[in-house]
Structure formats: C-alpha cells, structure tokens
C-alpha cells in the first residue's frame, strides 16, 4: 500500500541520506530480499514526500564520482516517521488482534 512505502522510505532515510537506487537496495536488504521495490512507485513516492516537506534532496557525487540526487530526512520527516510508525504499529496490533480472535473461534 502507498502509505506503507512512504513509511519504509522514511525509515530507510532515517539511517543515512541516500539516492533512489540506494533506497531500493537498502529496503531489499532490510527485508532480506522479501520486498522488491518497483521503481515505478519509488520515484513518485519520493516526489510526494518531497512535496510534503518530509524529505529534502540535493545533488552530490557517488563513490564512483557520478552525480546523483541524494535524499535526506527533514526534521518534519523525522517527526512524521515517528507518528507514521506509531500509527502503523497500532494498525498492525488491531489487525493482529482481529486475526487472533477469529483464530480462537475457529
């Protein structure tokens, strides 16, 4: 879901500023290859987050001396990450709770 991807991007960027490909790689790594981020959703999401002012971008060079656009969490983004993460956990708990009840009844 879109909201999930935003949360994951924020999480990835909370560790270090990264370029688009780096974010995709990091998320794959963190999910132990369980998640493959479609670039088709990655870049629009980045634009959206930048629009909201949660992340900021800057052109830098990579280790291989290639220009790349690095994204970085803003203060607002950091706050948003906290809030989004909390609401995600709550959401998961609620869903978990529901699933648990159904399980017992069965």
């Amino acid at each position: 879901v879109r909201g999930t991807l935003d949360l994951l991007i924020l999480k990835a960027l909370s560790l270090a500023p990264m370029h688009g490909w780096g974010i995709a790689q990091r998320l794959e790594q963190l999910s132990k290859d369980a998640l493959r981020i479609g670039q088709g959703s990655l870049y629009p999401a980045l634009q959206r987050l930048e629009e909201k002012g949660w992340i900021d971008s800057e052109w830098r060079t990579t280790d291989q001396n290639r220009p790349a656009k690095y994204y970085e969490l803003t203060a607002a983004g950091r706050r948003a990450l906290g809030a989004e993460a909390a609401s995600w956990r709550e959401y998961v708990n609620v869903v978990e709770g529901i699933l648990g009840t159904t399980g017992e009844a069965t």
């Binding site: 490909w21 493959r36 479609g38 670039q39 088709g40 629009p44 959206r48 629009e51 220009p67 656009k69």
Partner: protein, 904 residues
C-alpha cells in the same frame, strides 16, 4: 516557501526539471545493471532485467509529474508557450492586433480613471465620505439652476439635525500682496469657522477661525496654505501675526494649514465668511455653497429625507420664493459635477468607450478566425486524437490572452502618459477651480478594469473564432483535408469583406483630415510673431455682498470702462511698453463666430433691395474674428490693399470689415475686394426671420492669418473691429521692449492695482505660453483621434489583406483546373482579381457614401479637399486589396494542374 519555489521552478523551468529526472533514472538503471553484472548475468541479460525491473521510463516521468500536481499548470504554461510561439510566427498579425487592442485598452483605461475620479471621488479627508453638500435647485427655471442662499443656511442650521456643523463658503477673487512685494491673484475661500471643523484638519501653525472671527467688527484675519507660506513667506517660522494685503484690505495671518490641504476646492487663502443674513431681504441674499458632516448615526438617505421635508414645508409657507425649490443632499465631492444627477451619463460614456475595444476586438477576431480557419486541419486532428473541445478552445483562448496581456501593458503605459497630459491640461485650464482631489492616475481599480478588458478581448479574439472553428463537424473537416481543401468561406465572408472596406473607407477620412491639418495640407498661412508680447486678462472685483457675480449692472459697466481706460493709458506710459492691444480671447486671436454669408448681387449700392430671404441665394461658410483697431499694426501684419480699421469703425452702426485672401478667392471669387458687401442672411442669429442684418463692407485685405494664434489652418476669415467697452473681462496683448514678457508680469499687475486695488489681472503670461496652452486640449484630442484612426487603418488594411488572400487561396484548385483546361495565365489572374475586387469595390462605394454622410452628421461640409481625402483613402484600400489578392493568385498559378485535378 521552499516548496512553492520548487513548484514555481517546476512550472517555469520544466525542461531543467525533466532533465534532472532523466539523469536520476539513468543512474538508477546503470546501478541496477552493475548489480546484475556483479550477480553474474551476461551484459545483455543484465540490461534486459534492469529494464524489466524499471518499467516504462516515460510513463513514470508522467506519474512523477502528476505527483507534483502540476499537470494542469504545465498544460497552461504549454499553451502560453504555444501562444507566444504562434504570435512570433505571425509577427505582422501580432503587431497589428497588439497595437489595435492596446489603443482600445488605453481609451478604456483613461476614461475609467477620469470617470472614477470625477464621479466616485474619495475626499482625502478623515471620513471624507461623510462630508456632504446641501443645495437648492430651482426646478421652475427648467435649467435646474443651483440657488442656495444665505437664508437657506439659517433654515437648515435650525432644522436639519441629521447634519452637524452646517457651514458655507463662497469664493471671491483678490489681488494678494505679500511682504515679498509680488502681486498674485488668488481665489479666496470665505468660509464659516465651522468649515474647518468639518474638514477635521488641525492647523499646522497658529489656528483656524472661531465664531468670533465671523463678527463684522472683528479684526481682518486670514489663514494661508502651506504652499503659500513656503513661496510667499519663504517658510518664515514667525509668519503668524504678519500682514497680508487682499485687494484693498490688510489681513493678519492667524494660521497656516498643512501641506496638501485645499478644502473646500483648491484654495490657498481663507477668510471668515462675514455675511449677515439680516442684511438681506427674502430671496435677495447672496449665493453660497453649503456643506456639513453627517451627524453620528445618520445616513445620506436620512439627511436627504429630512432636507426634502423642510423644502416641502418652506414651499407651502412661502410659495413666492420657495415654490419650485428642491433640496438635494450629495456627497461633497460629487457636487463638483455640473449636473450631479447625471452620473449615469458618465457610466454610459464608459460603456460606449469600452465598446470601442469590443469593436476593435471583433474586427481582429475576424482576422484571427481567418488564421484559425487555416489551422482547422490541426484542430480537427487534435480533436480526433481525443482533445476535448474545451481543451482546444482553452488553447486558443490562452493564445489570445498572451496577446491581449501584451496589449494591456502597452495600453496602460500609453494611458499613463495620456493621463499625465490630461492632468497638466486640467491644471492649466482650471487652475484653482479644479478640486484638489482631482488627480487622474492609474489606480488599482483601473488596473483591475484593464485586466477585465484584456480577458474580454481574449474571449472575443480567441474564443469566438475557436468555437466557430471547432463547431464545424470534425468528420467533415477531416474529409475535406484529405481532399486537400480547407474551410470554406461562404457568402458571409464576402459580406464581411465588403463591410470591412465600407467601415474603413467611411471612418478613416476623419482622422486623416486631422492629420492633414497637422501636416500643413492646407494653404500656407502668414505666421504671426507673438514673441515680446504678454497677455493679461483684466477683472474688476467688487467688495459688496454680490461679490463673485460678474458685473451686469450699469454702474459696474461704467466703472469698469473708466478704470480700463486708465489702466491702458498707464500701461502705455510705461517706458518698456510699445503697444497695448485689446483682444477678444487671451491668446489674442480666435474665431469669435462665423456662419454662412450672402453676397450682394451686382455690386450696386442698393443693399436693401437685395434678394428676398427665401430666394435661392448662394451662402458661403465663413468665420469671423473681432480685432482691435490697432491689432494689425501692433502685430506687424501689413494691410495688402485698402485701409486698416479706424476709431470711427467702432461706433454703433459702422459696417467696416477686413477680409483675408482665402475669403477673397473662395467667397468673393477673386478680384478687388474693396467696396464689396456681404451680410448674414435674415433669420440667422435672431431667429425672427424679419429684417436681415445690415450689409458689411470690405475696407481692407490682409494675408491668410491662422484662424487661431499659433494655428496652422487658414479659413475664410473676415475681421470686425473689437469695441473694448463691449467685453468683460478684457484681454490685453502688451508688447514690451528691453525686458521679457515673463519679467514684466508683476509690473502689469502693479499698474492695475495702482489704478484701483480691486482691479485684478487674472492670467498674465507670455503670449507664446497662452497660445501653447490654448492648443493643448486640441492636441490631446488629436492624439487620441489619430491613435484610433491609425489602429483602424492598420486593422482594415490587415483585415482586407487577410480576407483577400484567404478567399483567393480557397480558389487555388480551381485556378489549377482552369490552367489545365488551357486558360491563359493573364486570364486566370484577371478572373481572380475581378471577383476579389468586386467585393472591395462594393465596400468602397458604400464607404464613400458613408463618409460623406458622416461628415455631414458632424456638421462638416465636404469641400474639394475632403473629397480628395476620401478618394485617397479609397485608393489606399483598393491598393491594399489588390496587392493582397495578387500574391495568392500568383501562388495559385504555380499549382500543378495535375495536382489540382488529383483532388477531384
């Protein structure tokens, strides 16, 4: 903020943003490929997998943009870019449209500013909108004359409690003599002490009046304006208590008002109003202007109702003096319109002037339609590809908006210039009579109005043709395209061409004739040198209660006559003065009348036996001017034959006139004019139709003089002697030597004051300046008329040209077929031109007729010169039409006959 900056950047530098996106994607793809290579794929497989993972690049960029929510803005900016590109692609069309619409916008903006200032003036005083005027109108006189008397003020003060601080003022003219010795005529506001409280502005120094100052026995005091304090007292800090002379009386300065304060009109000097209502019989009190503030909680409507009730009661009590009096309560500033009831006339004028823009816009829209029609293929294709009609119309509207915005900028700049000219003109013309809040300038509301006009113009120019072009069934257009044909121009367009030509031919001679007047199209005139002359206008002020009214009674006339003679005598005695000439207007020479005259038949002396008034007589339009007996000698104008005027020519019953050359040639038919006689026919002037005025006899001949000083136009003039006692005020032209006119002005004023302190010279200025001023209004009008005429000429020329080339283009295929069938080239060209020019011809004929009609409506008789202008204009339009038709016809000849036939 940063976000908005980014968004703005995305709109305006879309290319750069897209490039960045491309770069980002490219990097992503490359890193992905590298990763795949590291994973051991072959280079081909690595690239392929990377692309699969990536998906369609373009689709994504679109998604990314949509994420920015910019798409519609992008569409708009794209349209604007397209619009700008279309404008650059057709530079001639763009220039014509921009100039024409700019002229329309300029006229709209100027009139809006002026009308806004005049009709809806904001009085720049605290709560200025609560200051009102109360006035009586005498409906019985049919003229709605204002009749507000001192006694009315008393009545209102007692009964009108919706108003507070009821005050009055009247304006009197005085010579002001300050300690610096300079004499200056000023309009003094004699104002109630409460008037200053109504204005609500405290004095800068000293005080303003109190009720004690209004007592007849109180010492004479004066309050002066900031500007007067700076210029006449050199800003002296101890000005309070100093003395100023106003006419015969010394006044003590008690206060200085702050800068910019000119209430009630545009005054610089205030004295207390000391009129005692008990000193006058009913209805015999002097006229005054009454104003007040609305009492807290009361409204204009409430005050009006109360005033009307009082008026009704008075009318019942005193039907003799108040039977037909209506009382009106108006916003103070509004009362400065001559007929405040007629505000709607101004709004009507505004609407009419805005219609000029609509007319220009419609005219240009025809042009644009012709162009849009040639783009009908493009439009049809776009529609077929799924563009909605709204989208296409929006695009064409945006294009037009780009153009009209450009015009709006040009128009506003031009309007600003014209307004500054008008400001200067009004200041010169009205001086202290122009209300101090009348400053014509571009206000925010004007700019808003202009923006509205620009959108209106864009709607007319863009949307109308677009709706027309998109309404034609797309299917049909596509079919026609495939057969190589564009839109058809039917009968309607033929009519339009004829109409366009008609209007152009009918209307254009008027500005052309204005131009012609400027270009010296007429007979050369003998210039009159006005250097070394100054002009001065002499008034006699009265000190009694009737001050302010022009002298009409006999005593006043006799007194002025005696004093005037003494002033002239003393001026002539000044060593620097070489001539003193009374003139009829301040700029020395202007037609004072004119009309048609009849000639005496046969030249015999029996004038009274001349043709009967109702017989067929040749009447000749002429102009006449009153000149002093010494006028021609003083201005060095030689009398070519006959004699000058003598003193005996000014006695009642004398009939001597002097004529100019044009008069001799065009009215008298050449020959020796001396002794010839003419007269105004019976019924002219008096309307009785009984006895015709006496014959006038030519006694002298002069060269063609300008009909006004500094003017260039010669006309059939005859001069009659000016009788100085007949005119009030009296204008004098004074020639000086050994000094300049500018330096001598104060001396002239001093001479008048030495005769009597209430003799006042109004304007004293070098004659050159007066001449330049007199022409200013005409110059502004010419500027506007010429601008309008010029844009009409441009539009008509471009319109005729575009429509002609369009119709001929339509027939290119037909031309090809004719050629294929063996027609000779000249025959084909002739055929095309004949049909094209028939439309222009019809327009020309109608236009010439219309032109004559219009000239007649404007009261102009058509003479040879005017006919020539009309003919020149018609020839110009015919030439434009022919040239416009030839080029496409020639291109038509290049069509391969086989190509043309293939379409069938």
């Amino acid at each position: 903020v940063k976000r908005w900056l980014r968004r703005l950047r995305a709109v305006f530098r879309r290319g750069a943003v897209d490039r960045e996106l491309d770069q980002e994607m490219a990097l992503h793809l490359e890193l992905e490929i590298q990763k795949n290579l590291r994973a051991g794929m072959t280079p081909y497989e690595a690239r392929r997998q990377a692309h699969i993972a990536f998906g369609g690049v373009e689709r994504f960029k679109q998604q990314t943009r949509e994420a920015r929510m910019l798409d519609w803005v992008g569409g708009l900016s794209l349209d604007m870019k397209l619009g700008a590109r279309m404008l650059l692609k057709h530079p001639a069309l763009t220039a014509v449209g921009a100039v024409a619409i700019a002229v329309g916008i300029m006229i709209g903006a100027v009139s809006f500013s002026v009308i806004e200032t005049v009709t809806d003036p904001a009085l720049p005083l605290e709560q200025g909108d609560r200051i009102v005027t109360v006035q009586n109108l005498d409906a019985a006189e049919g003229s709605q004359a204002r009749q507000t008397h001192l006694h009315d003020l008393e009545a209102w003060r007692a009964q009108l409690d919706a108003l507070e601080e009821l005050s009055a003022y009247r304006t009197v003219n005085r010579n002001l003599v300050a300690p610096d010795g300079r004499i200056e005529p000023v309009r003094v506001a004699e104002m109630s002490a409460s008037g200053f409280r109504v204005a609500g502005v405290p004095a800068l120094m000293g005080r303003y009046f109190t009720e004690e100052d209004e007592l007849p026995t109180a010492p004479a005091v004066v309050v002066i304006a900031h500007e007067l304090w700076r210029t006449r007292f050199a800003g002296a800090p101890d000005v309070i208590g100093r003395r100023v002379r106003l006419g015969p009386t010394e006044h003590t300065v008690v206060g200085v008002m702050p800068k910019g304060f000119g209430f009630p009109v545009n005054n610089r000097v205030w004295t207390p109003l000391r009129l005692d209502p008990l000193g006058f019989g009913p209805g015999g009190a002097p006229d005054i202007d009454v104003f007040a503030r609305l009492a807290p909680g009361s409204t204009l409507g409430g005050a009006q109702a109360q005033a009307s009730a009082i008026a009704a009661r008075l009318a019942a009590d005193e039907p003799e003096t108040h039977g037909s009096i209506r009382t009106q309560v108006l916003p103070f500033a509004r009362a400065f319109l001559d007929t405040p009831q007629l505000v709607w006339v101004f709004y009507l004028v505004q609407v009419v002037l805005s219609l000029i823009l609509v007319a220009i816009g419609l005219n240009f829209a025809i042009l644009v339609y012709a162009r849009t029609a040639t783009r009908s293929g493009e439009i049809a294709v776009r529609t077929a590809l799924g563009a909605s009609r709204a989208r296409v119309v929006a695009q064409l509207f945006t294009e037009a908006l780009v153009l009209s915005s450009l015009s709006a900028v040009i128009g506003l700049a031009a309007a600003r210039y014209v307004l500054s000219r008008i400001n200067g003109f009004v200041a010169i013309l009205g001086g202290e009579q122009v209300p101090f809040w009348w400053r014509f300038d571009l206000t925010g509301r004007t700019v808003l109005y202009v923006a509205g006009l620009a959108v209106l113009a864009a709607v007319i120019v863009g949307v109308l043709p677009a709706l027309k072009a998109t309404s034609s069934r797309v299917q049909a257009t596509l079919q026609r395209m495939s057969s190589g044909r564009g839109l058809e121009l039917g009968r309607r367009w033929t009519t339009l061409i004829a109409l366009q030509v008609t209007v152009a031919v009918a209307v254009l001679p008027i500005p052309l004739s204005v131009f012609a007047g400027n270009l010296g199209f007429q007979r050369p005139v003998t210039e009159i040198s006005t250097t070394d002359f100054l002009t001065a206008t002499l008034y006699l002020d009265r000190l009694d209660a009737l001050d302010g009214r022009a002298g009409s009674d006999e005593d006043f006339g006799a007194r002025f006559e005696a004093l005037r003679a003494e002033v002239v005598r003393r001026l002539q005695a000044e060593p620097e003065v070489t001539a003193v000439v009374p003139t009829s207007v301040s700029h020395a020479l202007a037609p004072s009348g004119g009309g048609r005259v009849e000639l005496e038949r046969g030249g015999s002396g029996d004038g009274l036996g001349g043709p009967a008034p109702d017989a067929e007589v040749d009447l000749h339009a002429t102009q006449t001017s009153l000149v002093d007996v010494g006028f021609f000698r003083a201005f060095g104008i030689p009398v070519l034959s006959g004699r000058e005027f003598r003193a005996a020519d000014t006695v009642p019953g004398a009939n001597a006139v002097i004529v100019n050359r044009t008069f001799v040639e065009e009215v008298l038919g050449g020959g020796d004019p001396i002794g010839r006689r003419f007269r105004f026919p019976a019924g002219v002037g008096d309307g009785s139709g009984a006895e015709p005025p006496p014959w006038l006899e030519v006694v002298g001949l002069v060269a063609d003089l300008p009909s006004t000083m500094g003017g260039k136009a010669a006309s059939r003039m005859f001069y009659r002697p000016l009788v100085p006692g007949d005119v009030y005020p009296l204008h004098l032209a004074v020639r000086v030597q050994g000094t300049t006119p500018a330096e001598f002005t104060n001396r002239v004023r001093a001479v008048a004051m030495s005769v009597d302190p209430v003799l006042r010279f109004g304007t004293v200025a070098p004659l050159d300046d007066a001449v330049a001023r007199a022409g200013e209004g005409e110059r502004i009008l010419k500027l506007v008329v010429v601008a309008l005429g010029f844009s009409a000429l441009l539009l008509s020329g471009a319109g005729i040209s575009a429509l002609m080339s369009f119709t001929v283009t339509q027939r290119r295929r037909e031309i090809g077929i004719r050629l294929a069938l063996g027609a000779a080239r000249y025959q084909v060209i002739f055929n095309v031109l004949r049909r094209a020019l028939r439309q222009v011809g019809v327009g020309l004929a109608l236009g010439v007729l219309g032109s004559a009609l219009l000239m007649k409506l404007l009261g102009q008789s058509m003479d040879a010169k005017d006919w020539m202008l009309v003919a020149m204009n018609a020839a110009l339009m015919a030439a434009i039409g022919t040239v416009a038709a030839i080029d496409p016809a020639r291109r038509g000849l290049e069509v391969e006959p086989t190509e043309a036939l293939k379409g069938e």
